[in-house]
Amino acid sequence: MRLIAENLGGERGGETVFSNIGFALEKGEALIVTGPNGAGKSTLLRVVAGLLPAARGKVLLDGGSEAFPTVASASHYLGHLNAMKTALSVEEDLGFWRAFQGEPGLNVEEALETVALGGLGHLPFGYLSTGQRRRASIARLLVSRRPVWLLDEPTAGLDKASEERLARLMRGHLQDGGIVVAATHLPLGLEGAKALRMGQVL
């Protein structure tokens, strides 16, 4: 399985944010997207996920399996927003996404243990702190299987220990033959990851 972006260009409100971005990621490879604010990191991730139309170029998944034929169906997207309902308990939120996204992975209890939120599943999501919310949202990546993880500032709000835990999770995902594309300005602790610096004169 290969995730390929060819000559990609992105727009926001008619303004070109980036152009001529290209990469190809094999199984087990990660791409770290860095750049100053406004360089188009988030836009790039949304274009890759298919949530925004590409102004130019295309994204394709080469050799997708029967379960993951397209980029969108093969991708987990962790954006700025956590996509969890504050009125529901963490268990209910994760249980819903596990059922809705299909291809179930860890069960809710195990996923919460993995992000060190074990025993907090009964709390409403709204009661959690910023960092805990982010961790619960990261647990969403674990409850259903997707080969491609698209992570937008995944460490936002996380403490040191949680950052290391996330790095471990990403390394594990890469070892299992997954692909990670992460937009960040902090080092994520992934050795051998490809780097894409945005916002420079092309």
Binding site: A49, A72, S73, H80, A87, L88, F100
Partner: protein, 237 residues
């Protein structure tokens, strides 16, 4: 794949949609869900009408079905703006759209409509017979009006979903949705009211307008979610 169950795609899809349905129902009855807003508005309108119209019982019973239908129509439009906006604000909408590659986005929208209808509109239909008494309606008329509301109000939700999807990015899109959707709901209102009258007024037929109402609901159950899915897919930013 090894772990892939051999169950039919339909069973799988219905389980997935049941999960979404139950989540939306849960959200609508929890704090801030707003399931009761519609029914309280409905109650307020119907209770005020007799004071405004005056104590003419014959007049009240004559306009009863129409008033119930108009009040229910407006109450249906009330909560529609939150149908997709709540999901957009916390990022869930992105994932619903992203998963549209796996199971049709229109099916997701249809499920959300059904959950919205069950949570916010079904209470109106249940309250309608009681409020019919306020309008001095006879039992047959009350039953017919409740039945037409039961069959006709889903159509309003389905049209409303398309309006809600178009206005999803607007911060205060509630009024815009009502303006967009109201002209399209007029046929539903016309056939709903004429079927309700048909049950009590002798020469007027009941079955024909009722069947057209049912057909409208079925037609819009397909068209509304498809249009809404199209708007949502192109409205992400």
């Amino acid at each position: 794949m090894a772990g892939r169950p051999e169950r039919g795609a339909w069973v799988q899809a219905s389980e997935i949609m049941l999960a979404l349905f139950l989540r939306d129902i849960r959200l609508s009855i929890r704090a801030g869900g707003g399931a009761l807003i519609g029914v309280i508005f409905f109650l307020a309108v119907i209770v005020t009408i007799p004071f405004g119209v005056g104590p003419d019982l014959n007049l009240l019973s004559r306009i009863g079905p129409a008033i119930l239908w108009i009040a229910a129509l407006l109450a249906c439009l009330l909560g529609l703006d939150r149908l997709f906006q709540a999901d957009r604000e916390d990022g869930s909408l992105d994932l619903l759209v992203l998963n549209g590659d796996r199971h049709m986005l229109a099916l997701t929208v249809l499920t959300k409509c059904l959950a919205h209808w069950t949570g916010s509109v079904l209470p109106l239909v249940v309250a309608a017979p009681l409020l019919g008494l306020f309008m001095n309606m006879e039992p047959l008329g009350i039953g017919a009006t409740a039945l037409t509301l039961l069959v006709g109000t889903p159509a309003i939700t389905f049209i409303g979903a398309a309006g809600a999807a178009v206005a999803v990015a607007l911060p205060r899109g509630g009024l815009l949705i009502s303006v967009l959707v109201l002209p399209l709901t007029i046929p539903v209102l016309i056939f709903g009211v004429s079927a309700s009258y048909g049950a009590v007024a002798d020469p007027a037929p009941f079955l024909q307008p009722f069947l057209i109402l049912a057909a409208l609901t079925l037609f819009l159950a397909v068209l509304g979610p498809l249009a809404a899915a199209l708007a949502l897919r192109h409205g992400t930013d």
